[in-house]
Amino acid sequence: MNTIEMRGITKRFGSLTALDHVDFTLQKGEIHALLGENGAGKTTIMNVLYGLLQPDEGEILVNGRPVRFRDSLDAIKENIGMVSQHFMLIPVLSVTENVVAGSEPRRGLFFDFAKAAQQVEKLARDNGFSLDVRARAGDLSVGELQRVEILKVLYKNAQVLIFDEPTAVLTPQEVDELFLTFRRLRDEGKSIVLITHKLGEVMQIADRVTVLRDGHLIGSVEKKDTSIRELVKMMVGREVSLGARHRSDLSGKVKCSIRDLSYTRGGLPVLSDINIDIREGEIYGIAGIEGNGQTELLEVLTGLLKPDSMTLTLDGRQVTGAAVDFIRSGIGHVPEDRLQRGLVRNMTVAENIILGYEDKEDFSRSGLLRQAAIQAAGTRLVDDYNIKTPDCNTPVSSLSGGNQQKVIIARVFSEEPDFVVCAQPTRGIDIAASEYIHEVMFRYRDQGKAILLVSADLDEIKTMSDRIGVLYKGRIVDEDLADNFDDDRLGCRMAGVDYVPESEGDDDGKI
């Protein structure tokens, strides 16, 4: 008998059908990967299972018994737990308090902290977590926070654990530890759902895979009976070229040179002694765990933040001043959060395409916008960059994430800047759009331009970059040709640990 059986689940949001008669089964003691692109409906169906959303049609059976969840409390009662993508911990409370919140042990009217701490400590020990249960949640690392989230779910006695993109924020080593935990939980007879769009993870950890696409169930397969190629085909609906692209030969002259970049905030160093040279025809990747100075590095290199010291030269010319001067000197910027810094949501596609370039002769003259020219540019770029939109006068907010990102890519690359600071260019968007954006970047590099790529997606850093610098606590702690980095070395460096190669060479076969 299946632990969970979901039959014919349909969920509509207005005229959009997010899930269309999707079936999903989960067995006791399995790790089940739920695979699909962004917007395929993976998180939606799990939100239904966790009671956060109510399905329009379909039924859910737990251990063969039909159930109806009005909210997540109902789901928790059926021993279903979810670790969401964004941690929901209260930073000022201790680990213990966070774990037991909602079902605290009491003595009389009062919260019994000692007992709670004892329980949480035991739970952590049983699961092989080394964790100070009295530490404030706000002081923990990302990996530790995730363990607290897992404890929260286990404390409520969950037998079914749903993980939404759990590896997105972890270093490779932390991912390995997480997967160890998964295996241990499975061997105890618990069932795990892993929501992901990363194929490597699926092949590494899953027992069974269910693939969704556009709210439809494409199929469920045993991992041992499938391959990455087949999974991609199920996920995307067509063949996709994966893997190696040619690297730059790094023969160009230095295009962009960053010297002695330091920045402190409140007396604390945020960026220290950063020196990077990026050549013509090179993509330089910054690897690192988020929060090690990436955001500040991006802001300094685009003139948004004044560093304590820096000499930035582009083709030998020094670049100084405010953001507008950096743009005019030929530095393009793809911001790391497209909705926060990239787009004005209620403006049209065309208006967003000229943002930052509205001063140009093409787009305005003596203070007045040249509407016809803007329209023409919008229409042309929508076409050139494959932006799916009815026309360029549509508000950018009604586009999908991938197409919104393409608007930014179109804006920046069509202006042909000498140097592009490109942050998280494909975060949270579908494979087809990512592929397209990567192509644009490669083409641009091959024209002899320089790109600095900052991404939390290590696979992206590894496939796109010609050279990689690892940023740790605001320093470049390692820099080498991309081909000389393997996961082990990257992971150690990102975590600030010295890297000692186990053996030379022989590290192929990774995805």
Partner: protein, 356 residues
């Protein structure tokens, strides 16, 4: 450009406002009924008082004129996502400045004097608003709080001026009458409607054009839509904020000047019956669209004008009318409430069913 396609989403937004108006009238009717009046009779009188005949309509325009300015002032600031709640204060700054220059500068010919007086009023209002913007940009002072407080500063300071230093011979709290050369003419013979309304209409068209088609307007809208994105794109959002507020305040200040030059011919304490906040209401009713503001301003003016008629004839208290006005604003400002009531219509007209 040959675009004849009917935008059903926009149609829905329009119908939603109409429905809010009707609903407010129904609620208001119930209140009138409870208060012992015949609602239909009262509404009929209001309508006749507002729009029944040329003279009534001209009177409505008198009521509408200041609202067109103050509404526009609010809309301008809102384009850059600034809440200018200091319109009243800017209005007073402009009115007082114009009243002083109009009364005490007496050597200039009309072609210079009147424009000078009006420009000075606009400048005063603009600078007063820009000060609030400066405090916001430089020191992070929330403009909602500063502008409201600056209303008190302006109105009370003006009251002080007319009560003490400028007190006139008859002991009235008003300034001296402005010179002939600073007076604005009437629009038509035999009616006290001044030419100020022409300024309002021209200004509305100009502002609409500026925000749609100028680089400054584009940047202001970008800052209003997403300040961080605008800054990332190299736009100096602080400067845009101050410029936009100056423009907004200048419109209010000009309004004050025009009321002095065209209607009262002097500064009178409490000359504004809350035009500033009524401007917010009228702008909301117009969904912050400058062109729609012409309609909502005239409608609002009509309600006020009709209300004074129904108050005179049927002694319906003005308070009840104010209550209906308040209901209109609340219902218009609560689009999701109206969405619920109009769900089938929305489904039919708005594609995608997303919240709009």
């Amino acid at each position: 450009m040959g675009k004849f396609k009917l935008d059903t989403t926009k149609l829905y937004h329009f119908l939603r406002i109409v429905a809010a108006l009707l609903l407010a009238l129904i609620f208001g009717g119930v209140i009138l009924y409870i208060a012992g009046f015949n609602p239909l009779q009262a509404y009929k009188l209001i309508f006749k008082g507002a729009f029944g005949g040329g003279k009534a309509f001209l009177t409505t325009l008198i009521y509408a004129t200041p609202l067109l300015f103050t509404g526009l002032s609010f809309i301008v600031a809102r384009h850059a996502n600034i809440l200018n709640l200091g319109i009243e204060g800017q209005l007073y700054a402009g009115a007082m400045t114009s009243a002083l220059l109009g009364a005490y500068v007496t050597v200039l010919p009309k072609v210079i004097h009147l424009p000078l007086v009006l420009a000075a009023g606009a400048l005063a209002g603009g600078l007063y608003a820009a000060l609030a913007a400066f405090l916001k940009v430089k020191y992070g002072a929330n403009e909602v709080i500063t502008t409201i407080m600056m209303n008190y500063m302006a109105t009370l300071f003006c009251s002080y001026l007319v009560a003490y230093p400028l007190k006139n011979d008859q002991g009235l709290t008003q300034t001296e009458r402005i010179a002939e050369t600073a007076q604005l003419g009437r629009l038509v013979k035999d009616h006290s409607l001044s030419q100020a309304i022409l300024f309002a209409l021209v200004l509305i068209v100009v502002v609409n054009f500026v925000f749609k088609n100028s680089r400054f307007g584009y940047r202001a809208r970008a800052c209003g839509g997403n300040r961080l994105a605008a800054e990332t794109a190299g736009i100096n959002s602080g400067r845009i904020t101050i410029q936009t507020m100056f423009l907004s305040g200048a419109i209010s200040g000009l309004c004050g000047g025009l009321l002095v030059c065209g209607t009262y011919f002097r500064f009178i304490t409490n000359f504004s019956s809350g035009f500033g906040f009524e401007g917010v209401a009228v702008a909301t009713l117009a969904a912050f669209n400058p062109i729609a503001l012409i309609l909502s301003g005239i409608l609002w003016g009509g309600i006020k004008s009709g209300a004074s008629v129904v108050n005179r004839i049927a002694s319906v208290p003005m308070d009840v009318i104010s209550l209906i006005q308040a209901l209109v604003v609340i219902l218009v400002a609560a689009p999701r409430l109206m969405d619920k009531l109009l769900a089938p219509l929305k489904k039919f007209l708005v594609k995608g069913g997303r919240s709009v």
